[in-house]
Amino acid sequence: MNSLDIAKIVLVLIGAPILGCLLAGIDRKLTSRLQGRVGPPLLQPYYDVRKLFEKDNVVVNKSQNLYVVMYVIFVVLSLLMLVFEADILMIIFVYTISSVALIVGGMSTGSPYARIGSSREIMAILSYEPILIFYAIAIYMLTGTFKLSALDEASTPLLMYIPLIFIGMLFVMNIKFKKSPFDFSTSHHAHQELVKGMFTEYSGPGMAGIEIGHFYEYTFLLGLMFVFWKINILMGLILALIAFLFVIVMDNITARVYWQWMFKTSWTVMLLISVINIVYLYIYEIKII
Protein backbone atom coordinates (compact mmCIF):
# COMPACT_ATOMS: atom_id res chain seq x y z
CA MET A 1 0.00 0.00 0.00
CA ASN A 2 1.61 3.24 -1.11
CA SER A 3 0.86 6.80 -0.07
CA LEU A 4 -1.51 7.30 -3.01
CA ASP A 5 -3.71 4.48 -1.75
CA ILE A 6 -3.78 5.96 1.75
CA ALA A 7 -4.72 9.35 0.29
CA LYS A 8 -7.51 7.64 -1.64
CA ILE A 9 -8.82 5.95 1.52
CA VAL A 10 -8.80 9.22 3.46
CA LEU A 11 -10.54 10.98 0.58
CA VAL A 12 -13.26 8.33 0.47
CA LEU A 13 -13.74 8.29 4.26
CA ILE A 14 -14.15 12.09 4.38
CA GLY A 15 -15.48 12.89 0.92
CA ALA A 16 -18.15 10.20 0.58
CA PRO A 17 -20.32 11.28 3.55
CA ILE A 18 -20.09 14.93 2.45
CA LEU A 19 -21.19 13.96 -1.04
CA GLY A 20 -23.95 11.71 0.32
CA CYS A 21 -25.12 14.45 2.66
CA LEU A 22 -25.34 16.92 -0.22
CA LEU A 23 -27.20 14.34 -2.32
CA ALA A 24 -29.70 13.80 0.50
CA GLY A 25 -30.08 17.58 0.80
CA ILE A 26 -30.67 17.94 -2.95
CA ASP A 27 -33.17 15.10 -2.72
CA ARG A 28 -35.20 16.84 0.00
CA LYS A 29 -34.98 20.24 -1.68
CA LEU A 30 -36.01 18.85 -5.06
CA THR A 31 -38.84 16.83 -3.57
CA SER A 32 -40.27 19.86 -1.81
CA ARG A 33 -39.96 21.97 -4.97
CA LEU A 34 -41.82 19.29 -6.92
CA GLN A 35 -44.57 19.50 -4.29
CA GLY A 36 -44.70 23.30 -4.52
CA ARG A 37 -43.03 23.90 -1.15
CA VAL A 38 -40.00 25.99 -0.22
CA GLY A 39 -38.32 23.07 1.48
CA PRO A 40 -35.55 22.77 4.06
CA PRO A 41 -32.06 24.21 3.60
CA LEU A 42 -29.62 22.22 1.48
CA LEU A 43 -27.62 21.18 4.56
CA GLN A 44 -30.67 19.91 6.45
CA PRO A 45 -29.45 16.25 6.55
CA TYR A 46 -26.24 17.53 8.17
CA TYR A 47 -28.24 19.46 10.80
CA ASP A 48 -30.32 16.36 11.45
CA VAL A 49 -27.26 14.20 12.08
CA ARG A 50 -25.68 16.84 14.32
CA LYS A 51 -28.90 17.07 16.31
CA LEU A 52 -29.20 13.30 16.67
CA PHE A 53 -25.73 13.20 18.24
CA GLU A 54 -26.93 15.61 20.93
CA LYS A 55 -29.86 13.43 21.95
CA ASP A 56 -29.82 10.62 24.47
CA ASN A 57 -29.27 7.12 23.13
CA VAL A 58 -32.27 5.10 24.23
CA VAL A 59 -31.91 1.46 23.23
CA VAL A 60 -33.88 -1.69 23.85
CA ASN A 61 -30.75 -3.84 24.02
CA LYS A 62 -27.07 -3.03 23.77
CA SER A 63 -26.43 -5.15 20.68
CA GLN A 64 -28.55 -2.68 18.72
CA ASN A 65 -25.61 -0.24 18.68
CA LEU A 66 -23.28 -2.98 17.46
CA TYR A 67 -25.50 -3.62 14.43
CA VAL A 68 -25.35 0.06 13.49
CA VAL A 69 -21.55 -0.05 13.69
CA MET A 70 -21.52 -3.23 11.58
CA TYR A 71 -23.74 -1.58 9.00
CA VAL A 72 -21.49 1.47 8.68
CA ILE A 73 -18.30 -0.62 8.57
CA PHE A 74 -19.55 -2.89 5.81
CA VAL A 75 -20.98 -0.05 3.73
CA VAL A 76 -17.66 1.81 3.97
CA LEU A 77 -15.82 -1.42 3.15
CA SER A 78 -17.89 -2.04 0.03
CA LEU A 79 -17.40 1.58 -1.04
CA LEU A 80 -13.63 1.26 -0.56
CA MET A 81 -13.61 -1.98 -2.56
CA LEU A 82 -15.48 -0.20 -5.33
CA VAL A 83 -13.02 2.68 -5.33
CA PHE A 84 -10.08 0.23 -5.42
CA GLU A 85 -11.75 -1.62 -8.32
CA ALA A 86 -11.94 -4.96 -6.58
CA ASP A 87 -13.98 -8.02 -7.48
CA ILE A 88 -17.57 -6.95 -8.29
CA LEU A 89 -18.95 -10.22 -6.92
CA MET A 90 -17.13 -9.69 -3.63
CA ILE A 91 -18.39 -6.08 -3.46
CA ILE A 92 -21.97 -7.29 -3.80
CA PHE A 93 -21.50 -9.86 -1.03
CA VAL A 94 -19.91 -7.38 1.36
CA TYR A 95 -22.64 -4.88 0.59
CA THR A 96 -25.32 -7.47 1.35
CA ILE A 97 -23.85 -8.03 4.82
CA SER A 98 -24.40 -4.34 5.58
CA SER A 99 -28.11 -4.68 4.75
CA VAL A 100 -28.29 -7.85 6.81
CA ALA A 101 -26.82 -6.00 9.81
CA LEU A 102 -29.71 -3.52 9.68
CA ILE A 103 -32.25 -6.33 9.37
CA VAL A 104 -30.84 -8.20 12.36
CA GLY A 105 -30.73 -4.92 14.29
CA GLY A 106 -34.39 -4.33 13.56
CA MET A 107 -35.30 -7.89 14.46
CA SER A 108 -33.35 -7.76 17.73
CA THR A 109 -35.51 -4.98 19.18
CA GLY A 110 -38.69 -7.04 19.29
CA SER A 111 -40.87 -4.11 18.27
CA PRO A 112 -43.62 -5.34 15.91
CA TYR A 113 -43.07 -2.39 13.58
CA ALA A 114 -39.34 -3.03 13.40
CA ARG A 115 -40.05 -6.68 12.67
CA ILE A 116 -42.46 -5.87 9.86
CA GLY A 117 -39.93 -3.45 8.41
CA SER A 118 -37.12 -5.98 8.70
CA SER A 119 -39.05 -8.79 7.07
CA ARG A 120 -40.02 -6.45 4.25
CA GLU A 121 -36.36 -5.48 3.84
CA ILE A 122 -35.57 -9.19 3.47
CA MET A 123 -38.07 -9.34 0.62
CA ALA A 124 -36.41 -6.27 -0.89
CA ILE A 125 -33.02 -8.01 -0.79
CA LEU A 126 -34.59 -11.10 -2.37
CA SER A 127 -35.94 -8.88 -5.13
CA TYR A 128 -32.85 -6.93 -6.09
CA GLU A 129 -30.06 -9.44 -5.43
CA PRO A 130 -30.59 -11.50 -8.66
CA ILE A 131 -30.32 -8.36 -10.80
CA LEU A 132 -27.08 -7.38 -9.07
CA ILE A 133 -25.71 -10.88 -9.67
CA PHE A 134 -26.65 -10.67 -13.37
CA TYR A 135 -24.85 -7.33 -13.48
CA ALA A 136 -21.72 -9.06 -12.18
CA ILE A 137 -22.17 -11.92 -14.66
CA ALA A 138 -22.52 -9.46 -17.53
CA ILE A 139 -19.28 -7.75 -16.51
CA TYR A 140 -17.60 -11.17 -16.43
CA MET A 141 -18.91 -12.11 -19.87
CA LEU A 142 -17.81 -8.83 -21.41
CA THR A 143 -14.34 -8.62 -19.86
CA GLY A 144 -13.50 -12.19 -18.91
CA THR A 145 -12.94 -11.26 -15.27
CA PHE A 146 -14.93 -10.05 -12.27
CA LYS A 147 -12.24 -7.46 -11.51
CA LEU A 148 -13.49 -3.94 -12.12
CA SER A 149 -9.95 -2.76 -12.85
CA ALA A 150 -10.14 -4.62 -16.18
CA LEU A 151 -12.83 -2.18 -17.33
CA ASP A 152 -10.20 0.55 -17.71
CA GLU A 153 -8.94 -1.19 -20.84
CA ALA A 154 -12.41 -1.60 -22.33
CA SER A 155 -12.98 -0.26 -25.82
CA THR A 156 -16.67 0.58 -25.33
CA PRO A 157 -18.66 1.43 -22.19
CA LEU A 158 -20.69 -1.32 -20.52
CA LEU A 159 -23.94 0.52 -21.21
CA MET A 160 -23.65 -0.15 -24.97
CA TYR A 161 -24.05 -3.90 -24.55
CA ILE A 162 -26.10 -4.22 -21.35
CA PRO A 163 -28.79 -1.51 -21.59
CA LEU A 164 -31.46 -3.90 -20.26
CA ILE A 165 -29.43 -4.60 -17.14
CA PHE A 166 -29.07 -0.83 -16.77
CA ILE A 167 -32.87 -0.61 -16.59
CA GLY A 168 -32.81 -3.39 -14.02
CA MET A 169 -30.20 -1.47 -12.03
CA LEU A 170 -32.40 1.64 -12.04
CA PHE A 171 -35.06 -0.57 -10.45
CA VAL A 172 -32.48 -1.70 -7.89
CA MET A 173 -31.58 1.93 -7.16
CA ASN A 174 -35.21 2.68 -6.36
CA ILE A 175 -35.32 -0.23 -3.91
CA LYS A 176 -31.96 0.51 -2.30
CA PHE A 177 -32.53 4.24 -1.89
CA LYS A 178 -35.70 3.17 -0.03
CA LYS A 179 -37.77 5.57 -2.07
CA SER A 180 -41.35 5.35 -3.16
CA PRO A 181 -42.80 3.10 -4.65
CA PHE A 182 -40.58 0.74 -2.61
CA ASP A 183 -40.31 2.64 0.67
CA PHE A 184 -42.20 0.08 2.72
CA SER A 185 -39.37 -1.19 4.92
CA THR A 186 -38.63 2.19 6.45
CA SER A 187 -39.49 5.76 5.53
CA HIS A 188 -40.67 9.06 6.91
CA HIS A 189 -43.82 8.90 4.84
CA ALA A 190 -45.15 5.55 6.01
CA HIS A 191 -45.34 6.52 9.66
CA GLN A 192 -49.09 6.07 9.95
CA GLU A 193 -48.95 2.35 9.34
CA LEU A 194 -45.31 1.50 9.95
CA VAL A 195 -44.10 4.12 12.49
CA LYS A 196 -40.49 4.02 11.20
CA GLY A 197 -40.19 0.45 10.04
CA MET A 198 -36.80 -1.11 10.69
CA PHE A 199 -35.48 1.94 12.55
CA THR A 200 -38.39 2.33 14.98
CA GLU A 201 -36.31 1.58 18.07
CA TYR A 202 -33.23 3.60 17.16
CA SER A 203 -32.73 7.01 18.71
CA GLY A 204 -30.10 9.73 19.01
CA PRO A 205 -26.54 8.67 18.12
CA GLY A 206 -27.70 5.23 16.93
CA MET A 207 -29.96 6.84 14.36
CA ALA A 208 -27.20 9.31 13.46
CA GLY A 209 -24.94 6.33 12.69
CA ILE A 210 -27.57 4.92 10.37
CA GLU A 211 -27.93 8.29 8.63
CA ILE A 212 -24.16 8.54 8.11
CA GLY A 213 -24.20 4.97 6.78
CA HIS A 214 -26.87 6.09 4.34
CA PHE A 215 -24.63 8.90 3.11
CA TYR A 216 -21.91 6.35 2.34
CA GLU A 217 -24.50 4.07 0.77
CA TYR A 218 -25.79 6.82 -1.56
CA THR A 219 -22.25 7.34 -2.84
CA PHE A 220 -21.71 3.59 -3.20
CA LEU A 221 -24.94 3.02 -5.15
CA LEU A 222 -24.24 5.88 -7.53
CA GLY A 223 -20.74 4.41 -7.90
CA LEU A 224 -22.33 1.20 -9.17
CA MET A 225 -24.09 3.26 -11.85
CA PHE A 226 -20.84 5.07 -12.63
CA VAL A 227 -19.27 1.72 -13.58
CA PHE A 228 -21.61 1.53 -16.59
CA TRP A 229 -19.51 4.21 -18.32
CA LYS A 230 -16.26 3.82 -16.50
CA ILE A 231 -13.92 4.59 -19.43
CA ASN A 232 -15.03 8.23 -19.45
CA ILE A 233 -15.28 9.87 -16.00
CA LEU A 234 -17.56 12.68 -17.18
CA MET A 235 -20.05 10.34 -18.87
CA GLY A 236 -19.95 8.07 -15.80
CA LEU A 237 -20.82 10.98 -13.52
CA ILE A 238 -23.63 12.05 -15.85
CA LEU A 239 -24.99 8.51 -15.77
CA ALA A 240 -24.87 8.47 -11.96
CA LEU A 241 -26.64 11.84 -11.87
CA ILE A 242 -29.34 10.59 -14.25
CA ALA A 243 -29.90 7.57 -12.00
CA PHE A 244 -30.15 9.81 -8.94
CA LEU A 245 -32.64 12.19 -10.58
CA PHE A 246 -34.63 9.21 -11.84
CA VAL A 247 -34.94 7.90 -8.29
CA ILE A 248 -36.15 11.28 -6.98
CA VAL A 249 -38.68 11.73 -9.77
CA MET A 250 -39.99 8.19 -9.29
CA ASP A 251 -40.23 8.91 -5.57
CA ASN A 252 -42.52 11.84 -6.28
CA ILE A 253 -44.73 10.46 -9.01
CA THR A 254 -45.53 7.04 -7.57
CA ALA A 255 -47.41 5.75 -4.56
CA ARG A 256 -46.17 3.06 -2.21
CA VAL A 257 -46.92 -0.46 -3.50
CA TYR A 258 -47.25 -3.79 -1.74
CA TRP A 259 -44.01 -5.70 -1.33
CA GLN A 260 -45.64 -8.49 -3.36
CA TRP A 261 -45.83 -6.13 -6.34
CA MET A 262 -42.12 -5.36 -6.10
CA PHE A 263 -41.29 -9.05 -5.75
CA LYS A 264 -43.38 -10.08 -8.76
CA THR A 265 -42.09 -7.27 -10.98
CA SER A 266 -38.51 -7.97 -10.09
CA TRP A 267 -38.69 -11.74 -10.51
CA THR A 268 -40.61 -11.56 -13.79
CA VAL A 269 -40.00 -8.41 -15.82
CA MET A 270 -36.64 -7.31 -14.42
CA LEU A 271 -35.18 -10.80 -14.22
CA LEU A 272 -36.44 -11.61 -17.72
CA ILE A 273 -34.87 -8.56 -19.36
CA SER A 274 -31.62 -9.25 -17.49
CA VAL A 275 -31.61 -12.84 -18.77
CA ILE A 276 -32.36 -11.66 -22.31
CA ASN A 277 -29.39 -9.34 -22.09
CA ILE A 278 -27.15 -12.16 -20.83
CA VAL A 279 -28.35 -14.51 -23.60
CA TYR A 280 -27.64 -11.80 -26.18
CA LEU A 281 -24.08 -11.49 -24.87
CA TYR A 282 -23.71 -15.28 -24.91
CA ILE A 283 -24.98 -15.85 -28.44
CA TYR A 284 -23.00 -13.06 -30.09
CA GLU A 285 -19.96 -13.72 -27.88
CA ILE A 286 -19.38 -10.03 -27.34
CA LYS A 287 -16.15 -8.97 -25.68
CA ILE A 288 -15.12 -5.39 -24.97
CA ILE A 289 -11.49 -6.21 -24.23
Binding site: R50, K51, E54, K55, D56, H188, A190, K196, T200
Partner: protein, 156 residues
Amino acid sequence: MSLAKSPWIIHVNCNSCNGCDIEVVACLTPLYDAERFGVLNIGTPKQADIMVVTGSVNYKNVNVLKNIYNQIPDPKVVLAVGACASTGGIFHNCYNVIGGVDQIIPVDAYVPGCCPRPEAILDGVVAALSILESKSKGKIKGKEVKLKGKEVPSNA
Protein backbone atom coordinates in the same frame (compact mmCIF):
# COMPACT_ATOMS: atom_id res chain seq x y z
CA MET B 1 -27.73 25.64 17.91
CA SER B 2 -28.14 22.31 16.21
CA LEU B 3 -31.29 21.27 18.01
CA ALA B 4 -33.19 24.34 16.85
CA LYS B 5 -32.36 23.61 13.23
CA SER B 6 -33.97 20.21 13.01
CA PRO B 7 -36.91 19.73 15.36
CA TRP B 8 -38.68 16.44 14.74
CA ILE B 9 -42.24 16.37 15.91
CA ILE B 10 -44.40 13.58 17.19
CA HIS B 11 -48.09 14.32 17.10
CA VAL B 12 -50.16 12.74 19.86
CA ASN B 13 -53.92 12.83 19.61
CA CYS B 14 -55.43 12.66 23.10
CA ASN B 15 -59.18 12.51 22.70
CA SER B 16 -59.14 15.42 20.28
CA CYS B 17 -62.15 16.24 18.08
CA ASN B 18 -59.81 16.24 15.02
CA GLY B 19 -60.08 20.00 14.58
CA CYS B 20 -56.60 20.69 15.93
CA ASP B 21 -55.17 17.62 14.20
CA ILE B 22 -56.24 18.90 10.82
CA GLU B 23 -54.62 22.25 11.62
CA VAL B 24 -51.42 20.50 12.72
CA VAL B 25 -51.32 18.57 9.45
CA ALA B 26 -52.10 21.79 7.59
CA CYS B 27 -48.74 23.12 8.82
CA LEU B 28 -47.05 20.60 6.52
CA THR B 29 -48.92 21.69 3.40
CA PRO B 30 -47.24 23.81 0.71
CA LEU B 31 -48.96 26.97 1.99
CA TYR B 32 -47.35 26.87 5.46
CA ASP B 33 -44.55 24.32 4.88
CA ALA B 34 -43.14 23.60 8.32
CA GLU B 35 -40.25 21.75 6.68
CA ARG B 36 -38.67 25.15 6.00
CA PHE B 37 -37.55 25.04 9.64
CA GLY B 38 -36.44 21.43 9.34
CA VAL B 39 -39.61 20.18 11.00
CA LEU B 40 -40.43 16.57 10.23
CA ASN B 41 -43.56 14.79 11.34
CA ILE B 42 -41.95 11.66 12.72
CA GLY B 43 -43.80 8.51 13.69
CA THR B 44 -41.70 7.08 16.48
CA PRO B 45 -41.29 8.84 19.86
CA LYS B 46 -37.71 7.56 20.08
CA GLN B 47 -36.58 10.01 17.41
CA ALA B 48 -38.81 12.95 18.35
CA ASP B 49 -37.78 16.25 19.96
CA ILE B 50 -41.10 18.05 20.27
CA MET B 51 -44.28 16.35 21.42
CA VAL B 52 -47.35 18.06 20.02
CA VAL B 53 -50.43 17.08 22.02
CA THR B 54 -53.96 17.86 20.94
CA GLY B 55 -57.10 17.21 22.94
CA SER B 56 -57.82 16.83 26.63
CA VAL B 57 -56.64 13.93 28.76
CA ASN B 58 -59.15 11.37 29.94
CA TYR B 59 -58.89 8.23 32.03
CA LYS B 60 -58.68 6.02 28.98
CA ASN B 61 -55.67 7.63 27.31
CA VAL B 62 -53.68 8.98 30.26
CA ASN B 63 -51.35 6.00 30.40
CA VAL B 64 -50.77 6.13 26.65
CA LEU B 65 -49.78 9.78 26.97
CA LYS B 66 -47.38 9.06 29.84
CA ASN B 67 -45.90 6.12 27.97
CA ILE B 68 -45.19 8.14 24.84
CA TYR B 69 -43.74 11.00 26.91
CA ASN B 70 -41.38 8.61 28.72
CA GLN B 71 -40.16 7.13 25.44
CA ILE B 72 -38.93 10.43 24.00
CA PRO B 73 -35.17 10.80 24.64
CA ASP B 74 -33.92 14.01 26.32
CA PRO B 75 -33.83 16.91 25.62
CA LYS B 76 -37.53 17.10 24.85
CA VAL B 77 -40.29 19.70 24.81
CA VAL B 78 -44.06 19.34 25.10
CA LEU B 79 -46.31 21.66 23.11
CA ALA B 80 -50.01 21.71 24.01
CA VAL B 81 -52.03 22.69 20.94
CA GLY B 82 -55.59 23.94 21.30
CA ALA B 83 -57.91 24.86 24.13
CA CYS B 84 -58.56 21.25 25.16
CA ALA B 85 -54.88 20.37 25.48
CA SER B 86 -54.16 23.59 27.37
CA THR B 87 -56.97 23.57 29.92
CA GLY B 88 -59.46 20.86 29.08
CA GLY B 89 -61.51 23.28 26.98
CA ILE B 90 -65.24 22.76 26.77
CA PHE B 91 -64.78 19.25 28.12
CA HIS B 92 -63.07 20.45 31.34
CA ASN B 93 -65.84 19.31 33.69
CA CYS B 94 -66.86 16.12 31.93
CA TYR B 95 -66.97 13.09 34.23
CA ASN B 96 -64.29 11.23 32.25
CA VAL B 97 -61.91 14.14 31.60
CA ILE B 98 -58.89 14.80 33.81
CA GLY B 99 -58.16 18.18 32.24
CA GLY B 100 -55.35 19.75 30.26
CA VAL B 101 -52.16 17.93 29.35
CA ASP B 102 -50.25 19.84 32.07
CA GLN B 103 -52.15 17.88 34.71
CA ILE B 104 -50.18 14.79 33.71
CA ILE B 105 -46.89 15.76 32.05
CA PRO B 106 -44.85 19.01 32.17
CA VAL B 107 -45.89 21.30 29.31
CA ASP B 108 -43.41 23.87 27.99
CA ALA B 109 -45.51 25.90 25.57
CA TYR B 110 -49.23 26.40 24.97
CA VAL B 111 -50.99 27.29 21.75
CA PRO B 112 -54.48 28.52 22.62
CA GLY B 113 -57.44 28.57 20.26
CA CYS B 114 -60.27 26.33 19.18
CA CYS B 115 -58.88 25.41 16.88
CA PRO B 116 -55.60 27.38 16.56
CA ARG B 117 -54.59 28.56 13.10
CA PRO B 118 -51.56 26.88 11.46
CA GLU B 119 -49.63 30.16 11.86
CA ALA B 120 -50.21 29.99 15.61
CA ILE B 121 -49.04 26.37 15.75
CA LEU B 122 -45.89 27.20 13.79
CA ASP B 123 -45.33 30.11 16.19
CA GLY B 124 -45.67 27.68 19.09
CA VAL B 125 -43.13 25.31 17.52
CA VAL B 126 -40.67 28.17 17.02
CA ALA B 127 -41.22 29.24 20.65
CA ALA B 128 -40.58 25.65 21.75
CA LEU B 129 -37.25 25.63 19.87
CA SER B 130 -35.61 28.16 22.21
CA ILE B 131 -36.85 26.16 25.21
CA LEU B 132 -35.38 23.04 23.62
CA GLU B 133 -32.05 24.86 23.19
CA SER B 134 -31.96 26.03 26.82
CA LYS B 135 -32.87 22.54 28.04
CA SER B 136 -30.02 21.11 25.99
CA LYS B 137 -27.55 23.69 27.35
CA GLY B 138 -28.65 23.24 30.98
CA LYS B 139 -28.82 19.47 30.50
CA ILE B 140 -32.34 19.53 31.93
CA LYS B 141 -33.84 16.06 31.80
CA GLY B 142 -37.53 15.38 31.59
CA LYS B 143 -38.74 13.59 34.68
CA GLU B 144 -40.03 10.11 34.12
CA VAL B 145 -43.76 10.15 34.67
CA LYS B 146 -44.76 7.06 36.61
CA LEU B 147 -47.33 4.80 35.07
CA LYS B 148 -50.10 3.84 37.42
CA GLY B 149 -52.54 1.03 36.91
CA LYS B 150 -56.05 1.93 35.90
CA GLU B 151 -56.68 5.59 36.55
CA VAL B 152 -60.10 5.95 38.17
CA PRO B 153 -61.69 9.24 39.17
CA SER B 154 -61.83 9.59 42.97
CA ASN B 155 -65.41 10.79 42.90
CA ALA B 156 -66.69 8.14 40.50
